[in-house]
């Protein structure tokens, strides 16, 4: 078990290190930052001065270790527009994104689990077909279209404009973007819960429970559902990626002042330091989340511990 934990942690660290290295190489070879920072008509000496100040005259290896050193000390560079540390800009935006993503995750998990369980219990009936149809619908629906339709119906039918920053205070102003963000995951959770539950219902221990005279409802809620939910932990970990990707688009559609909007804005204005930091932060979040999912398995599934 110690070996299992060690190999998972080592793999996560290596993955992160490779990502950091790739980001560094990409930034170094994308152009000359000195020429970009210096005034357009600057003489060669001034550009050279910038190069020295930025350490660009050093050998590649020295620049790389210097970069790692700065990252390790929490120095992630400064925005070329505001001059503020990119870490600070990110932290300012983080609460809004966490609020949106958290509500989206809760909505999609509760609705997805519920729909999936209802579908599994009514296998083959119209309810089941409707849920499966909804899951395909949710998968194929582009979140930017869904968001715009929500804004449009909100404005035309309820006279609420959801696309402005002012809307983020009201309940409806949070639920609408959260629903947009969580829709795709909701569909996949429903589909997954259904198939996982159907698989579990046919396991021998369910037959044993029936033989012991445990009532149907209790068998289902206390015996089948917890077992069926184990693989869902992996799915939630994996869907973190689509949640992050989705928040980039959703925040843009609803003018939500979060990290996703910051990323798009920084890309459009070529604020490399901020973009770089956001990429590293997203990679770190996903690697750590996957690590937690792997380790969580040890806690919730005794079968892995026994191996």
């Amino acid at each position: 078990m110690i070996g299992f934990i060690f190999s998972k942690v080592a793999r996560a660290v290596i993955t992160l290190l490779v990502t950091v290295t790739l980001v560094f190489i990409f930034i170094r070879f994308s152009g000359d930052p000195a020429a970009a920072l210096a005034p357009p008509d600057a003489p060669q000496e001034v550009i050279d001065q910038y190069r020295r100040a930025l350490g660009l005259d050093q050998p590649f290896w020295v620049q790389y270790t210097g970069y790692l050193n700065r990252l390790a000390h929490g120095d992630f560079g400064y925005s070329i527009h505001s001059g503020r540390p990119s870490l600070q800009i990110f932290l300012d935006r983080l609460p809004a994104t966490l609020r949106l993503g958290g509500i989206a995750l809760v909505i999609s998990l509760v609705a997805g689990l519920g729909l999936g369980a209802v579908a599994a219990l009514n296998r083959g009936r119209p309810v089941d077909r409707a849920v499966m149809g909804f899951s395909v619908f949710a998968f194929a629906m582009p979140n930017f279209l869904f968001g715009l339709v929500v804004i449009l119906t909100g404005s035309l039918m309820f006279q609420v404009y959801l696309g402005g920053q002012g809307a983020s205070g009201s309940i409806f102003g949070v639920v609408a973007p959260a629903l947009t963000l969580g829709l795709a995951s909701m569909g996949s959770y429903a589909r997954f819960t259904r198939s996982s539950l159907l698989e579990t219902i046919n396991k021998p221990f369910m037959l044993a429970a029936e033989a012991r005279g445990i009532p149907y409802k209790r068998r289902l809620l206390r015996h089948a559902l917890p077992n069926a939910a184990i693989p869902l932990v992996t799915l939630v970990g994996l869907s973190l990626g689509s949640l992050i990707a989705g928040s980039v688009v959703t925040e843009q559609v609803f003018a939500w002042p979060g990290v996703g909007q910051l990323l798009v804005r920084s890309v459009a204005t070529r604020d490399i330091a901020t973009v770089q930091f956001l990429v590293l932060a997203i990679a770190a979040t996903m690697v750590i989340a996957n690590l937690i999912v792997d380790l969580l398995y040890l806690v919730i599934d005794p079968r892995i511990r026994a191996r």
Partner: protein, 285 residues
Amino acid sequence: MDTNTQNRRSGMPMAVRLALIFIALFVLFALFGQWLSPHEFRATSLFDRLKPPVGFGGTWEYPLGTDARGRDLLVRLAVGAQITLIVAVVGTLIGAVLGSLLGILAAARRGFAETLVVGAVDVQASLPIIVVALFVLAMFDSSFTLFLLLIGLSGWEVYARLMRGAVLTAKEQGYVTAVRALGASPYRIYLRHILPNVISVGLVQFTVNLPLTVLLETALSFLGLGVQSPLTSLGQIMSEGRDRLLTSWWLTLFPGVIIFLLALSISLVGDWVRDKFDPTLRTEN
């Protein structure tokens, strides 16, 4: 997924048939739709700005209305559909070929090559492709070729993982040992014997991946970071119409509904193909 047992016996379910019809119509529209309109997709007309579609106060001069520069929406949708189709198919193909080759290479050579490929798959899986694309687009000038390559990167890691697994299994089969004992060269074994046995895995994944590529292209273009004006795509048309959502809804809703129906149709067909060809391959998504 396993609801359609009776349908599988009797042939294609109705939804899949409708989906195939829509895909055929979409391809026809992308290829020949430009001839439905006398206008050119970049031609502006200042006197015909923001004309509504027929049935909402518009005229047959512009059946689906015009945008803020008086360009005909019908012909723009046709050109946009064409670009979206090209990017989706070429992009998915690049990812499929690249990922499959790497996966086969990893399984065939084992050792260091395999470690490299598996490590690269891990790294790719740690970043959503839309974030990778945004990172690259922040540093390089957006060009159509670069954008196509970025879209091509999406999903390669899935092919690599699947193909590696399939080849590793195929290598252990008795027929490979038999062919090797007969003195066949490794190239012959891989090209003539193993590849035909694993190619269905790649083909099924292609149909599963295609709608994701459509959604990625349209999302990036919608953010204004994909296909750039004067060229257009369904996502790019939506991005231009976004600011006029409440007054000129046709600019966003028409391309949006086409994107949705296209992604829906392809994934319905993809699910059907997956269940038909390889029931063991069900990846939950």
